[in-house]
Amino acid sequence: MSRWRGLRARRTNLNIHEYQAKDIFRAAGIPIPPGEVATTPEEAEAIARKYGGTVVVKAQVHAGGRGKAGGVKLAKTPEEAREVARKILALTIKDLPVQKVLVTPAADIATEAYVGVIVDRASKKPVFMVSPAGGIDIEEVAAKTPDKIRRHPVDPRYGLRTYEAMDLGFFLYKDAKQARAAALIMQKLYTAFMAKGGSLAEINPLVTTPTGDVVALDAKMVIDDNELDRLPQLAALRDESAEAPSEVEARKANLTFIKLDGNVGCVVNGAGLAMATMDLVKYYGGEPANFLDIGGSSNPEKVVAALKIITADPSVKAILFNIFGGITRTDDVANGIVTATKANPLKVPLVIRLTGTNEEIALKILQENGMSAMTDMDEAVKKAVALATGKAA
């Protein structure tokens, strides 16, 4: 079955690094100071020497709060840049090991503002969000000083028109020259956002320098995965070494997987049912080990891949299949379970709930291989929880 059939998966996004977002913004004409990426302390030192003067060394990792985690540091000399880079490259921020740093000349900052554009569900439009209080978490600004945030929906048929951009520019800066510079930056940001299939594009902070220039010091962009079919070059921006290995493997198998902290491994078709299954596990006193959606596909290989990912987690004490066959044929799922468990016998108990399309054939396949299945979701979840917690009768 094709990739897009049915309700395969939750919408996912492609995260890219700051340096990659800066490349995109720079190519769109947004003023951004130079910078280069280093993967070793020595490379960082060489880049710092080339720029001369003080540099900033910034962890390139898909996590917010890099500064607070010690992932952003100033270095006055090339030697210091090397030592700072050594420390940052040894960090793990929010479970993600830092493997690259961006080295960029330190800028003198007069003021800091925030500029971002996202797709908004409510207005069904791209919406700009800007604030003269930048450089800090925009959530914090929204909570403490909501009047310092301006939202502006854009009609995608016309784009961000100049007068609209100017209006936002004057919200950020009193100085007409700076307002105009900011307006131009926002129009370019909008163009890059639309051209690269963004679901978010953000500059935080957008700074003014003591000489009055308006410059983007940081860049963030999230790309809609659904754009990759028509913009395949964007897929090259994905840095798999910066993602959790289990999630990379799942994506390759066309599964949606999110690791959680519990011990009941879940394999479900459809995101809503997968979430409802996790909720039921919790309801009956257990803890789900993951969210895993095999989607509306009948490919037995997906089931094999799913079991492989789940059994790699040592905290999993029981595995629960919850399959409601509509498009998904339950006999294909049963075949996948048989194939996978023959190749790699399970060390933990397996509870299978399946109902729907070709249920009779599926039950026969399972029975012939010494397995059984339940038809009631609640009963199956209860049993899996009992097995995982060692309370099974």
Binding site: M1, S2, R3, W4, R5, G6, L7, R8, A9, R10, R11, N13, G116, I118, V119, D120, R121, A122, K124, P126, M129, D137, I138, E139, D155, P156, R157, M194, G197, S199, L200, E202, V222, D224, N226, D229, R230, I258, V268, G270, A271, G272, L273, M275, A276, M278, D279, L280, V281, K282, Y283, P288, F291, G296, F324, G326, T328, G356, T357, M377
Partner: protein
């Protein structure tokens, strides 16, 4: 009666010769849906299963077969164009099953469809079914049965689960609508709730929501202020970890984090019965309709 589709629905299928389109067209015909035509560019003049005429364009199909609804099974990069083609040809009800439509496409499609005065269901949705009358999309017909309950859901298989539970409990349905889980979709909860409120045969409504956004909260307000029929609801994702969805900017814009707790509270506050488990929907409905 039912909402959006019934026995008089004359359906066009865009992408009728594709693997998904042909499979589900067969299923719809077997269920009793009047499929009057199909569209696949380049295959105009042929017939699907020796019965349903195929056209190169939607406007041609409209001229020849007068459909009043269309269902779209084309690959995601062509879906935006297919939706706009249908609206431009004057089809008033457009159901887009395709998953993976780029969201920026939808920012352009949505205002276009509004301008044309059409209703869009989806994209990334299972479609809808009025049991015993007509089915448009991919909801399995055999789990449904005719009756007085209206159902609207953001999910696919979870919808089937709840419909299955209702059917097992002898509670049939007027119409089951899957509105889809994408950030921008054509028909929301309120559109369906108001249609169910106006439908004389529907006596109660089930709403299946998910984490994210504020659609369910807005719908809860609507139920309190505009509806006389009892409504019960379930929200999937009560245990979903926070912060795994995109960024925080979206939450700020909508003024809400869209958690399950928040939505269930909105349900409770506005008189909607809150099911903790999908199965609880059955008892809650019984309590409210007996």
């Amino acid at each position: 009666m039912s909402i959006f589709i019934d026995k008089s629905t004359r359906l066009l299928v865009q992408g009728i010769t594709g693997r998904d389109g042909s499979f589900h067209t067969q299923q719809m015909i077997e269920y009793g849906t009047q499929v009057v035509g199909g569209v696949t560019p380049g295959k105009g003049g042929q017939k699907f299963e020796n019965a349903v005429p195929i056209f190169n364009t939607v406007s041609e199909a409209v001229k020849e077969t007068s459909p009043n609804a269309t269902v779209i099974y084309v690959p995601p990069v062509f879906a935006a164009d297919a939706m706009m083609e249908a609206a431009d040809a004057g089809i008033p009800f457009i159901v887009c099953i395709t998953e993976g439509v780029p969201v920026l496409d939808m920012t352009r499609v949505y205002p276009f469809i509004k301008e044309k005065g059409a209703r869009l269901l989806g994209p990334n949705c299972p479609g809808l079914i009025s049991p015993g009358k007509s089915k448009v999309g991919i909801i399995p017909g055999r789990i449904c049965t005719p009756g007085p309950v209206g159902l609207v859901s953001r999910s696919g298989t979870l919808t089937y689960e709840v419909v299955f539970q209702l059917t097992r409990a002898g509670m049939g349905q007027t119409t089951c609508v899957g509105i889809g889980g994408d950030p921008i979709n054509g028909t929301n909860f309120i559109d369906c709730l108001s249609a169910f409120e106006a439908d004389p045969e529907t006596t109660s409504v089930v709403m299946i929501g998910e984490i994210g956004g504020t659609d369910e909260q807005d719908a809860a307000d609507f139920v309190k202020n505009k509806m006389t029929k009892p409504v019960v609801g379930f929200i999937a994702g009560q245990t979903a970890p926070p912060g795994r969805r995109m960024g925080h900017a979206g939450a700020i814009i909508s003024g809400s984090a869209g958690t399950a707790a928040e939505k269930m509270e909105a349900f409770e506050k506005n008189g909607i019965g809150v099911a903790k488990r999908p199965i609880d929907v059955v008892q809650l409905l019984k309590d409210r309709t007996s």
